[in-house]
Amino acid sequence: MNTSPAPTAKQQSSEAGGWIEDRKLWEVYARRKYDEPLYQVGTVAADDPDLGRVYARTIFNEFPWIEMVLIPRDTIIPVIEA
């Protein structure tokens, strides 16, 4: 099933330019201590989850995290919006 909306003109033009830049977006969540919850530390673009792991690790290396996870952005369903 494909319910994707038609790509915008801008998306089409950058896709025509090639696939050099990653398009899939991931939310990066991490925590530093066992008694704290995961929180959002940033986002990365990576078409491949393994590359996403590498990008997240290298870009968000500011703390010695005890846990870090990637969540595909478009699987997030807002319940209460800020």
């Binding site: 801008k10 950058s14 940033g42 986002t43």
Partner: protein, 348 residues
């Protein structure tokens, strides 16, 4: 249908549609970002007054969007250009460990650039075009980076001065920004910029133990100090677009930020007995410059033309706009690989 309701509605289908629609959407909803920001300035100000941060384009007015894009572009471009600018002198590192820490700093800067460009992509900006197709002269980083850093001493002085300027500016954004995603991202950036400027200070102390080191540091201060003073932009009484409308893009004024920078940069240099063209004035309780300002700058020879006396800010703006000696080369370094791969693929 009201826009936010539409966003909630479309989210229900988003779970089934794979990743290809993820481009230029926010975390909070699947609303396409190419649409115009829906709020009026009044609604944005109301939100800010209620201490609610702006979380995505759905909370913006056209003026807020333009403003935040402008300030994010300056920040992202500055972080990005610092990578090639620092890489040249990093290769002049005196041994392996300092080479490693210089590369770690460069990696941090690329991370900072990544964060700012990613946020802009969520605001509907075509980042590929912005980074790889833009004319070098259109990049929006401070003029100081256009003057080549060539030695290890110049690199560590850039850490001590330029990274300090970045830290001052971003701490201000962190303290006052109303754009939530950026504000939260700056926790990381501030922490790393602190490391960069400490790196500069530690090396200054170490190198100051030798006569030759002292002479090189003083030489670097002589051209780099005033370039960093300039970094903070036009003085408050000359600033042109102040149409910030209380959107909270910035907390302090250019002159206030310049003072904050000098309040740590000047004592640092003085504590190591270097001469800087500024001192603390007890009467006004402000740092004041000891030379005419602004001045003409001879970029080729890295020399301020003090004898020519004070020039106009229009002349300074002209120099900034024309960009300096390294602009083309640094932007080429950033764009080259992308362009080469693209033409390789086109030819295949």
């Amino acid at each position: 249908m009201h826009r936010l309701e539409w966003a909630k509605f479309s989210t229900e289908t988003a779970g089934f549609r794979g990743y290809d629609g993820a481009e230029a959407t926010s975390r909070r909803s699947a609303a396409p970002m190419s649409d115009a920001p829906p709020l009026t300035d009044q609604q944005v100000l109301e939100r800010i007054k209620n201490h609610q941060l702006i979380e995505s384009i759905e909370h913006m007015s056209p003026a807020y969007l333009e403003g935040i894009k402008r300030i994010l572009t300056v920040s992202a471009d500055t972080e990005l250009i610092s990578a090639p600018a620092y890489y040249n002198p990093a290769r002049a590192a005196p041994s392996l460990n300092p080479f490693g820490s210089a590369l770690a700093i460069i990696q941090d800067e690329l991370g900072h650039a990544h964060i700012a460009y990613r946020l802009m992509r969520d605001l509907g900006v075509d980042i590929d075009a912005l980074i790889y197709d833009r004319d070098p002269a259109k990049f929006k980083y401070p003029y100081a980076f256009d003057v080549p850093l060539t030695t290890w001493v110049e690199l560590v002085m850039a850490n001590a001065f330029y990274d300090r300027a970045g830290f001052v500016l971003l701490s201000d954004v962190f303290g006052s920004s109303t754009f939530g995603p950026w504000k939260r991202a700056l926790v990381k950036v501030d922490k790393e910029e602190t490391f960069h400027l400490r790196h500069g200070e530690n090396w200054m102390r170490k190198l100051s133990q030798t006569t030759e080191g002292r002479r090189e540091i003083q030489r670097a201060i002589d051209w780099m100090f005033l370039l960093t003073v300039e970094w903070f932009g036009l003085p408050d009484d000359k600033k042109r677009h102040t149409e910030q409308l209380g959107f909270g893009f910035k907390g302090k004024s250019n002159d206030e930020l310049r003072q904050i920078w000098m309040s740590t940069a000047v004592p640092l240099c003085e504590s190591l007995n270097y001469s800087v063209p500024a001192h603390f004035d007890q009467a006004t309780e402000r740092y004041v410059l000891d030379v005419p300002f602004p001045l003409a700058f001879d970029a080729e020879n890295k020399r301020w033309l003090i004898d020519e006396g004070e020039i106009t800010w229009d002349a300074v703006l002209g120099r900034w706009k024309a960009r300096g000696p390294m602009n083309q080369q640094y932007v080429d370094t950033i764009q080259r690989g992308h362009k080469e791969l693209k033409s390789l693929l086109a030819a295949a």
